[in-house]
């Protein structure tokens, strides 16, 4: 006879067994789950995204007119393949670009076929309304020269137009009609042409995508993508180790990769080279950094190889502002000997003595608590101690760090930034006088006051911007690079790859070598 007590007890036991039985953490079938290191999604509109993590969803949903090979940047104009544009031509002066669009490309959610009007609207809004309008200021006219043809005229020649502009995410093609229909909602419900379309934008959990069945190209292999947001490192690592997510943003600090490898040797590590540029700025408005001997002494006192070793396998050596595999970057052997600034503590001490600091000096420096910044600053602090330079380091939260940098309150700050192989970007951001940082916070990211505290490279840059061929552009860019190396307002520190850890059950379908800090999943397949 079943009593009431027996029934209740059985029910409780059954519930507990269901609840507490070891759960086989089987991955969700036909779904790839990616965890990025952020609190939650902000936007999906490619022209309005301000958080790197959101680009993981953006790059699945939207497409460029032309694109570099998967897993890499395009370095030369020949590295790009037709995508939403079937072909393109450029004028001899590299100021007019004509794109012939692919026919039959369908937007998501029934917004119809992509035409020239959509492409024109995409470029116009990037130039006039986006969060990065400065990068599109060279766009003079964007004309619908046919239903499937767009003509773009530039103010200045740009032989690198494909890499400088066409493959920047703000001009990933959007549906003009969807933008008009959705209004403000377009920020999070944007409509593109990519192999995945938006299923749900959840501000608390993430961005959920499904395969676009009317995709014009090879359909995506995996049906669903979940771009999740797990800001806490412990939670993200555990989610990856347990198989709860298939891919997760890694942590760029010494020892993290070996530690994960030890615990789960079958995990795979995808890394972009170069990843983030790390640049050490000398604030030339602060004593004694106006003195080039002091700046040179500091560069000679930094053992870059030690930094590379500490941050293996993510770190790579850099000798100038741009990394060696970028068009204007230099390999060590290509640099004149006096511009190499190789590690030489004796030479550093001698230079400091010549500059009047035979007994050493103390510099107040702020750094960010973010692991990549603080690690490098702490290593440099220890290295410079050996040559008599005492770095009085204050570690602060990341937001406060950048704010104090912009208020001219730092001296030897590091800036980490992921930039494509377009020399103009890094020169424009860091080296031109118009980007000079001002104490009122209204300036740019030229933290050295280069071109203001001392003559800079504005004229050389202006010459570079008149180049009409790629080779000429690069040659002039290398002159800029060398001049910066001579003046030493800033110095390149080792780069740090963007790191993603991947469950071996996911085969991406290509190898990640370089490129932006996000990549496409449409070729990915589940292999186990």
């Amino acid at each position: 006879m079943i009593t009431r007590r027996t029934l209740l007890g059985t029910a409780v036991a059954a519930s507990a067994a269901g609840l507490f039985a070891p759960r086989l953490r089987a991955a969700i079938p036909d779904t790839l789950r990616f965890a990025s290191a952020a609190g939650g999604p902000r936007r999906l509109d490619p022209n309005q995204t301000t958080q790197g993590s959101d680009n993981w969803a953006v790059v699945q949903v939207f497409e460029y007119l032309a694109r570099p090979p998967d897993g890499n940047f395009g370095i030369t104009p020949n590295d790009f393949e037709p995508w939403l544009a079937e072909s393109w031509t450029t004028s001899d002066d590299a100021k007019t670009w004509v794109f012939t669009l692919r026919r039959g490309v369908q937007f998501h959610r029934g917004y119809g076929e992509m035409t020239a009007a959509d492409v024109v609207r995409t470029f116009v809004r990037a130039r006039d309304e986006g969060v990065n309008t400065a990068n599109y200021s060279n766009l003079a006219e964007i004309i619908e020269s046919g239903p499937y043809e767009v003509t773009i005229r530039l103010h200045n020649p740009d032989p690198m137009f494909l890499s400088s502009t066409v493959t920047a995410r703000h001009v990933m093609v959007i549906s003009k009609k969807a933008e008009e229909d959705l209004g403000e909602a377009f920020l999070t419900e944007a409509v593109g042409t990519g192999p995945y379309e938006l299923e749900r934008f959840d501000t608390e959990r993430g961005i959920f995508l499904r395969r676009h069945v009317d995709y014009w190209g090879e359909p995506a292999i995996i049906s669903n993508i979940e771009c999740l947001y797990i800001a806490d490192t412990t939670a993200r690592t555990l989610a990856l180790m347990s198989g709860d997510v298939d891919m997760a943003e890694g942590v760029r600090q010494p020892g993290w990769v070996p530690q994960i490898q030890n615990q789960k040797p079958d995990l795979l590590f995808d890394m972009t080279v170069p990843g983030s540029f790390n640049t050490l700025f000398f604030n030339m408005e602060k004593d004694p950094l106006q003195n080039i001997l002091v700046r040179k002494a500091i560069m000679h006192g930094i053992n870059k190889q030690e930094i590379v070793d500490a941050l293996q396998p993510m770190s790579r050596m850099v000798y100038t502002l741009n990394p060696p595999n970028y068009p204007t970057g230099f390999a060590l052997e290509d640099l004149p000997e006096d511009l190499r600034y190789e590690y030489d503590p004796d030479e550093a001490k001698k230079m400091l003595a010549d500059a009047g600091f035979a007994n050493g000096l103390t510099i107040q420096v702020n750094t960010s608590q973010r692991e990549d910044y603080s690690t490098q600053h702490l290593i440099i602090q220890e290295q410079l101690r050996q040559i008599g330079v005492n770095i009085d380091l204050t570690i602060m939260d990341h937001s406060a760090y950048h704010a104090t940098n912009r208020q001219n309150l730092n001296t030897l700050n590091i800036n980490s930034s992921s930039l494509p192989p377009v020399p103009l970007y890094v020169f424009n951001d860091y080296a031109v006088s118009t980007a000079n940082m001002t104490a009122d916070g209204k300036g740019g990211a030229n933290y050295s006051h280069y071109g203001v505290a001392m003559p800079g490279v504005d004229n050389l840059l202006a010459e570079m911007l008149q180049s009409t061929t790629f080779d000429d552009y690069v040659a002039k860019g290398r002159e800029v690079e060398l001049q910066i190396q001579r003046d030493l307002p800033m110095g390149g520190l080792p780069t740090l790859s963007y790191l993603v850890v991947r469950n071996p059950r996911i085969d991406l379908g290509y190898e990640v070598q370089g490129g932006y800090a996000y990549w496409r999943f449409c070729k990915a397949k589940i292999v186990a």
Binding site: L187, T234, L238, H402, A445
Partner: protein
Amino acid sequence: MARYLILRLLDMVPTLFLVLTLVFVAMRILPGDPALAVLGQNADGGQLEAFRERMGLNDPLWLQYVRFLWDAVRLDFGRSLMTDVPIRTLIANNLPHTVYLTITSVALGMTVGIPLGIYAATQRNKWPDNALRLYSLIGYSVPDFYLAAILLVVFSLQLGWFPINGAGVGFWGGLHHILLPAITLAFLKSAFMGRLTRTSLLEVMGRDYVRTARAKGAREGRVIFRHSLRNALLPLSTGLGLSILATLSGSVAVELVFNRPGIGRLLITAIQERDYPVIQAGVMMFAFFVILVNLFMDLVYIIVDPRIRVKS
């Protein structure tokens, strides 16, 4: 009673006003720039200025303050600088998770802590009493985030009994997801409540009326639960109030480690990004809860202790 309640509710107004003012000032004193957080460290001066202008961050401070207070009075906290989502929506999406976590963990903490305290008090200086002391010591010493990580490694990663992150869907999904975070927060609470129950009960059990009850031949259970525990309730209610407040603050770390939605996680992300409107709204929510819990506890005192009822 109604008059008392109205007076206490009116008391909330200056407190909330003070909190609002403090959080507004603190946000503006802290180094950090929302424009830089939104646009990135390489944004040029023009872009940063345009953003500040659009968001009203260039307006005089007094104007921003007046606008902020006026919006707060209407419970309109504006939109997040980062996501452009109305803050009311953000709070509506997150608050239920924090409330659910707080209630579950306090309930768990009380359910475990009070019986442990009673048992320890009745077994004074014997092994159960010593065991409770040790348990309390560990409970006080282990930080929430550390315990959370250990529980995650053991029960989620190794045993696979619980999900790693998120809040789950539906009743059973929600329950499955909340157990580990609730146990994390309940651990300290149970240690605290156990210790408090033991101390209060021992104090009461030494009183004359308890001795009299025993002398009259009352059963031990009756002595403890009828005569002693009821009179030990006042300090326990104080403990309950403190527990709820500690859980609210503890939820910040726990929501992060378990990657659960909630006001704590929302607030931490907003602080990192200098999302002023979200921070202001989040802090106000916390302040409101603190005041509300205090009010609730005052009402509980009145119910528990007739002397307070007479005075009020």
